[in-house]
């Protein structure tokens, strides 16, 4: 399937062979008179890493907000698998497997790293008041499973030594890792990452890229907004370039960076 030319929104080329796990159609976001996102469409397949790049103010984070539910889309549709999630609250989307991180780190600062992870896994009916009061035994069994899982995720990211540290005691890079680990506690289907490499030490960037690729291989789709182009190059299967709320180019990294429209958007 090749890209079809359209002046307003170049429809995003889907990789052949697999149904998209996340499909965004003609989504628009406005703040007052400003159109931050203006009819963006894209799709992600299971196992795929899609990069969204573009100059500051291009609407990347607003797009992520519209997909995650933090920002209301004024039009368009967001579909997760076969579910239309456009009108759902963020927690409902999360429960369906749509997890995200934030541009400014969002660790739970007065909770330990371990608790950060455990809370995420319980962010569903397992932690509800009714479950806690009416089914204490079931809750305890679930706590056990979740604690084991939290420990294995900490081991995977070599972060076990931080288990007892408060979120606010971590370095910027560690906070990013906590956010990503927290998402993985729930076995997401789609992961939205908003500039996950900011503050991460250069020698850890490579490891994080490998980790994310490994996570994607397990079959989840990753959408990543990132300014560091070398990261995008190494991590992403495909890239979408945004400027002024619209998609101006899409395709493999090597192709889109040669696009004159992309070059002028970055230089302007």
């Amino acid at each position: 399937m090749g890209p079809e030319a359209s002046a307003a929104t170049p429809p995003f080329p889907m990789p052949a062979g697999s149904a998209p796990i996340l499909e965004v159609s003609e989504v628009a976001v406005g703040y007052g008179g400003v159109r931050a996102v203006d009819g963006v469409s894209l799709g992600i397949s299971p196992g795929e890493v899609l990069g969204v790049i573009g100059p500051n103010g291009a609407g990347k984070s607003s797009l992520l907000g519209a997909i995650g539910g933090q920002v209301r889309a004024s039009r368009g549709r967001v579909q997760l698998g076969d579910r239309d999630v456009t009108r759902m609250m963020p927690h409902q989307r999360a429960r369906l497997g749509l997890m995200r991180t934030f541009q400014t780190t969002s660790e739970f600062s007065r909770m330990t790293v371990f608790e950060n992870l455990v809370t995420s896994a319980e962010g569903n009916s397992g932690a509800s008041l009714a479950a806690v009061v009416l089914h204490p035994h079931r809750t305890a069994v679930r706590e056990r499973e979740v604690a084991e899982r939290a420990w294995s995720v900490l081991e995977r990211f070599e972060m076990t030594h931080t288990a007892d540290l408060y979120g606010r005691e971590l370095s910027g890079g560690q906070r990013r890792l906590v956010e990503i680990m927290r998402c993985l506690m729930r076995e997401p289907r789609v992961l939205l990452l908003d500039e996950p490499m900011v503050g991460v030490a250069p020698h850890l960037t490579g490891k994080l890229i490998d980790d994310l690729r490994g996570v994607a291989r397990e079959g989840l789709g990753i959408l990543i907004v990132e300014h560091a182009l070398e990261v995008v190059h190494r991590l992403c299967d495909r890239v979408v370039v945004m400027a002024f709320g619209k998609v101006i180019a899409a395709g493999a990294f090597e192709e889109v960076v040669k696009d004159p429209q992309v070059q002028s958007a970055y230089l302007s």
Binding site: M89, E107, F108, R110, E115, T119, S120, V133, A147, W151
Partner: protein, 332 residues
């Protein structure tokens, strides 16, 4: 009974009632981050509700006090009604004031609710006898045994402290449960908590209603001892006494909150009664409020987490209760 015995017994009752307030406000504010600047309204709701179901039928306009819903309910219905009044009012207020808006706006809204409620109850005399308030409220439980509250403060104190212990244990248990952990996540970062699958609106409303129920219960306990309740007892500043107790003791730590309850409402507000009065009449009372404000400010400046700060839940401890055998014990 000596005056001293009466006084100490009364202080103990006040401590129990204030501890109930501080425990429930700590659940709301210290754990869930809900800045309930209207807290005292829910205690007042419980106190009025208990009063009118204990006082019996109102004699109506022209009598020395008039009120709505007059009834003679036996124990424990008086306290059940008080608890329900706090919970239902919390639900009603929470539904419109805890919507998705910034926390400082919610706090402002709750403070305004507190001011409006005070004005309405003061002005609407048929409701709860206006500014004069209600008097002659008895103690249904005591009456069963032929006791009156003022005559047996130590019995009443034991009763009030007993209730406080039960509530304390329940609230601490809830706070340490996965539900309590979700509250802390919401407190630390609402957007992230919601993006992790937590239903923020539901959590906030739940904690608001539970806190309101405890506030109502504390109001019922208080009014059945002192026998009277009027708008003078629940000015918005009373909420700030409870907040100060939490800040001084330790936000998010129930032991700290009990210590704060001992220090602030009891020592600051009660002890000055024994000091020689200075200046013009009423000066000592006013200085108490200055002392409360100063305590809060000094605490925020020099010890913002309070005397006993929130306890760190270590992974090993967290897991030890649920993991056996534990990979964490071996790994850490």
């Amino acid at each position: 009974m000596s005056a001293w015995s009466f006084y100490i017994g009364t202080l103990l009752i006040y401590f129990a009632v204030d501890a109930l307030s501080a425990i429930s406000l700590n659940l709301q504010f210290g754990y869930a981050g809900v800045v309930n600047f209207g807290y005292i309204v829910f205690q007042a709701a419980g106190a009025y509700a208990a009063a009118v179901v204990v006082l019996g039928k109102s004699a109506g306009p022209g009598s020395f006090q008039q009120y709505v819903f007059g009834a003679h309910l036996p124990f424990p219905l008086d306290l059940v009604v008080a608890t329900l009044a706090g919970a239902l009012l919390s639900l009603a207020v929470g539904l419109f004031s805890l919507r998705r808006m910034r926390r400082d706006y919610q706090a402002a809204m709750l403070l305004i609710v507190s001011l409006i409620a005070l004005q309405v109850v003061s002005a609407d005399v048929p409701l709860f006898n206006g500014a004069n308030g209600l008097t002659g409220v008895g103690w249904p439980l005591g009456q069963i045994f032929g006791l009156s509250a003022p005559a047996s403060p130590w019995v009443y104190a034991a009763w009030a402290v007993g209730i406080t212990i039960v509530v304390y244990v329940g609230v601490v248990w809830l706070s340490r449960s996965p539900w309590g952990r979700s509250l802390r996540a919401m407190r630390d970062h609402e957007d992230a908590a919601s993006a992790m699958g937590l239903n923020i609106t539901a959590l906030r409303l739940q904690v608001f209603v539970i806190g309101g129920a405890i506030a109502g219960l504390s109001g019922g306990l208080l009014v059945e001892y002192i026998g009277a309740w009027s708008p003078g007892a629940w000015g918005y500043a009373e909420t700030f006494v409870v907040f100060t107790a939490i800040f001084v003791g330790g936000v998010g730590n129930y032991k700290g909150v009990l210590l704060g309850t001992l220090l602030v409402p009891i020592i600051f507000l009660e002890l000055p009664r024994f000091l020689p009065s200075i200046g013009y009449p009423g000066l000592t009372d006013s200085l108490q409020w200055v002392a409360i404000g100063l305590a809060w400010m000094l605490c925020l400046l020099f010890r913002p987490r309070g005397i006993i700060p929130e306890r760190r839940a270590r992974a090993r401890r967290l897991a030890a209760t649920v993991l056996e055998p534990s990979p964490i014990k071996e790994g850490a």
